[in-house]
């Protein structure tokens, strides 16, 4: 099953490599990985999506917790949560295709953030499946470049991940 594990860790050099190293060392897979600072400059928040059965996920969360740099973590998929992925897509946009692409972008609530004579750059946010669906909706061969932030997520309601 796909899981979203969100981690608060010390903003220390080497902390990220310990997390990433743990996954490769123990043969766990990483689908997406996102890391950035938080409102507290001493902490960074790392979000990783992975797949595995319950046993594997239990080991992953225990192993992560064991890392000295990890302060706290939560498996967001255990409760209701909001999940977002951000994607920038550069597509070939010429002639009548320009209108068509504009229309699809609107349907997906995306934004065209850069326009060239022959290309559009589109920004999309949403759950990962929505972004996948958008790529499928684009005419074959029109996609020039795709970049995604990886999943970030947060629990719904009062629940918070902080110290």
């Amino acid at each position: 099953m796909r899981r979203i594990i969100s981690i608060l860790m010390e903003n220390e050099p080497g902390a990220l490599s310990r997390v990433v190293g743990l996954f490769s060392q123990r043969g766990y897979n990483i689908d997406t990985l996102n890391v950035a600072a938080t409102e507290d400059p001493t902490l960074s928040r790392l979000t990783v999506t992975t797949v595995g059965d319950d046993r594997v996920i239990e080991q992953i969360t225990k192993q992560l917790n064991k890392l000295v740099d990890v302060v706290k973590l939560v498996d967001l998929s255990e409760g209701t949560h909001v999940e977002r992925d951000l994607m920038l897509v550069k597509v070939r946009a010429e002639g009548s295709a320009r209108d068509e692409i504009r229309r699809i972008t609107e349907i997906f609530r995306g934004h065209i953030v850069d326009v060239g004579p022959q290309v559009f750059t589109i920004q999309l946010t949403g759950a990962a499946e929505k972004l996948d669906a958008f790529l499928v909706a684009m005419e074959e061969g029109s996609i020039l470049e795709v970049v995604r932030s990886g999943v970030v997520g947060i629990s719904r309601g009062e629940k918070v991940l902080r110290l």
Binding site: G14, S17, V68
Partner: protein
Amino acid sequence: MEMLSGGEMIARAIELENVEYIFGYPGGAVLHIYDALFKGCKVPHVLVRHEQAATHAADAYARATGKPGVVLVTSGPGATNAITGIATAYMDSIPMVIFSGQVMSHLIGEDAFQETDMLGISRPVVKHSFQVRHAEELPLIIKKAFHIATSGRPGPVVIDIPKDMTKPDEKFPFKYPSSVDMRSYSPIQRGHAGQIKKAAKLLLSAKRPVIYSGGGVILGGASDLLTQLARELNFPVTNTLMGLGAYPGTDRQFLGMLGMHGFYEANMAMHHSDVILAVGARFDDRVTNTVSKFCPGAKIVHIDIDPTSISKTVNADVPIVGPVQTVLADLLTQVKALRKKDKALPDAQALDRWWRQIDDWRDKHGLWTADRFSTDGEQIMPQQVIQSLYRVTKGDAYVTSDVGQHQMFAAQYYKFDKPHRWINSGGLGTMGFGLPAAMGVKLAYPDADVACVTGEGSIQMNIQELSTCTQYNTPIKIINLRNNYLGMVKQWQDMQYEGRHAMSTYEDSLPDFVKLVEAYGHVGMQVTKLEDLDAAMEKAFAMKDKLVFLDIFIDPTEHVYPMHIAPNGSMKDMWINKHERTS
């Protein structure tokens, strides 16, 4: 406030940590530190002949004393040479602090002379690591390193120190913290009371119980409590290779070691048990054989300080995370309270039947109820060497070992009554561990008998340490079980590759070990006849201030038994000898 350079801070910090020895080897990146040690540090430094030996010696010092081992190596090759020893300590959860030199901060990343990414290269084999970025952080980093290494599940911690952090002319105010508080690291102190109660009930309902205890009991200082609990319940006990000595080896309730080369009665008891109390053990593949066939009828209580050890390979029915010491104390209290309420617990009749069954197993194939090796030939059997060692040292020596058949014979035939006495690389299985390990133990306990049980293959992996033993006068006894083979490799080749001995012999290339040790200033003796064995052993241990190397020629064809049948075997599937198997 005292103003100190980085190098001086390290020297002061290890004094304040009450470090007894620092094991190391100098080089460019650590010369400031060495100079600071030279100018004034109460902690003696032991100069090894190879950095791997420094880590093994410090590691064994830690295993024998329970105190952290401390190592100092230079950057680049000094650091990489230390890796095998760090990994060895990591696999067996041994507390160590390793100071490694690093090139100057401004050179990091430039492939500078003797630069290696020590944090990167050591990451998978350390509990934690630090790189010093500002010299004034050194006291806090060192305090944290000792704290992390020795608390929770212990392990090695690396402190990587760029040379400019230790400049003699840059001084900083020095205040060594008396304690540290880390928000991201706080090992659990007590087990869950509800779980412990559940465990007590389950144990008292058992009809065919067994206690399976590992190295964690020794590391956690819980041998006495384990013994009390086992006696209170009259349950049989088996130890892992790492746990030998956690329960007295000569006690009636002790079944011997379990696992791949475990005792028949121990493996049979495990397989047929209905309740297993696992304490400080981790269901390693060398214990369980095929996991899916592991102890089919058993409910498992698992106590461990490390949550990742629980339900990693074998599912625990009653998991208890906590230090073995406090958990066993709480468990013992619970058991006693429940027994007060119901005197009929545990079921004495069922236990009686179980013990009779166990005694039958012991009589049938137990290693201690009869000699299970051939005694008619001319040649000395390896088992007889360990029996002789046991007799001569009255079962009270510190025994280090290397890796191979000799290690298994030592584990099987030396009945360790006390914890911290059996010192071997169980997790990583590092050949070359034994000699430097014996050195570290002898430095910790100069008056104790320290024996290194080794093979002619293993001993050559760190034989240069004979020179260190000369320098520091560590009169250990080296018991070389000489079979002229990489014996354990040969055994597998005999059993699984139709006797094709690919690269497991040295042909005629072995040195004359007697002459070799004499060249280092030690005493060497060759033993080829059984009738000379005891006398030689006694002579060796009588030479209190000499390192003695006993080169004992043994039957090269002997195999270690029992041996689990793999792949696809269960705990109860064993080779009993070359011709007999249980299934």
